[in-house]
């Protein structure tokens, strides 16, 4: 099975490296910036492509489109003649955006990727969808080389998954940042709180979050809530967040 890739961002990079790692042959890589395509191609023994139209006939079986959401349609329009399966990797875009192709699908890795952070791809959930059984089967075959966690998820469900990922990843990460800044402002090392962050994520691997909620809000400990609000009075944004989330947690009591 041969794969080509359009894109050179975080997702494209992690996918390309993971595919290379399991010895899937990567034919071509095209990126809006040729230098970026070259940089990535060099790392995965692939060829950097100058003209996107060249990919249409490069003999690959699957073409992964891993570009910004609002560029997917544009890119796909230039690849109508592609004879394999065109699949985008976005959580937020429907399958049908690719419907001018013959065989198309979605190959969505539900994970947070940062450029300089490697991760164990075998644990990354891959959410698949395709416009026909044959294409779905081929995407599954590719996915199985990369990960143990493969899910069939339709476009409606994938939207929810993408939204849930914001609550499960982007928002918690922002809140870690608030904690880090609070500590730094009081000469406290972020290191102190890292085991707590790790254990909080660890707990919900085996329990429902709602069952393991701790803290002053779930105990309805008004005295502590008020002390905390007092400490935040110079940070109106963080105070607003503190109040809103504490109120919500209280409703789960």
């Amino acid at each position: 099975m041969k794969v080509s890739i359009v894109g050179s961002g975080n997702v494209a990079t992690h996918l390309a490296k993971a595919l290379h790692h399991v010895h899937v042959e990567i034919q071509g890589i095209w990126s809006h910036q040729f230098e970026n395509a070259e940089l990535l191609a060099n790392q995965v023994d692939a060829k950097a492509i100058r003209q996107i139209s060249e990919i249409a006939n490069d003999g690959s079986d699957i073409l992964l489109i891993s570009v910004k959401d609002d560029a997917i349609a544009d890119v796909a329009a230039q690849l109508k003649n592609y004879r394999g399966i065109v699949a985008h990797t976005s959580g937020a875009v429907t399958l049908n955006i690719l419907n001018e192709n013959v065989n198309y699908g979605v190959f969505y890795p539900l994970q947070t990727f940062s450029k300089h952070k490697t991760l164990d791809f075998s644990q990354v959930p891959l959410c698949l969808e395709a416009n026909n059984t044959q294409s779905l089967r081929q995407l599954k075959t590719l996915a199985a080389l990369l990960s143990k966690n493969i899910y069939e998820v339709d476009s409606e469900q994938r939207k929810i998954l993408h939204l849930a990922a914001v609550f499960a990843c982007n928002f918690p990460n922002y809140l870690y940042g608030v904690a880090q800044q609070l500590l730094a402002q009081h000469q406290l090392d972020f290191e102190i709180i890292k085991p707590l962050i790790a254990e909080t994520a660890n707990k919900v691997q085996t329990a429902l979050p709602i069952e393991v909620q701790t803290g002053p809000a779930i105990r309805n400990d008004e005295q502590t809530l008020q002390k905390h609000e007092e400490l935040l009075k110079a940070h109106s944004d963080w105070l607003m967040i503190y109040k809103l989330l504490s109120e919500q947690i209280k409703k789960n009591r």
Copy 2:
């Protein structure tokens, strides 16, 4: 070194078990509910105490008070004759609440404890404070038996630490719960999103949160933000959270 414990909640239970595990002798355990003291005492080869006054002369070196924050002062008042070091385990209460004792301190484990979830205590940060050098040294000796992560933290800093823990633990856990409920409402298994939760916490073990922020808000991807808000229109509480946290993340761009 012998320890006695007042309390039988999550923190008291985890501390008692961790101490027992490293062969620290636990003398007595007193709890508001005698049955609870008995239950815990039986698990750690200790004696359940009926009258709190008995603890004052039980020959232990350190007495850990691990009760609800607003009960600490009451308990301490009944233990003025205790001859060892009295230490409470709260993140939110000052050292001075114990100042009617001779030797007193704080022994605050910065972690989220749930009753039925065991955890590796050797990673738990222990934040110590005492009213004199000798007491601090003894608390450090005890702490070193339990954990590799020992910090001296004064009462002002501990307040901030406790507040930061709400942002780093209680709020993220609440948001995991929103994600879980969103998925359940759309027949999606919470399992799908667990690797993402784990990796999000894992990333900040080696990077600053602000450097690894991902998602539509930090990309200022208005189209996706609007789609997500649309999906949340039947959940006004979650929509409010989504808007507020997205706005805050945008400010970090």
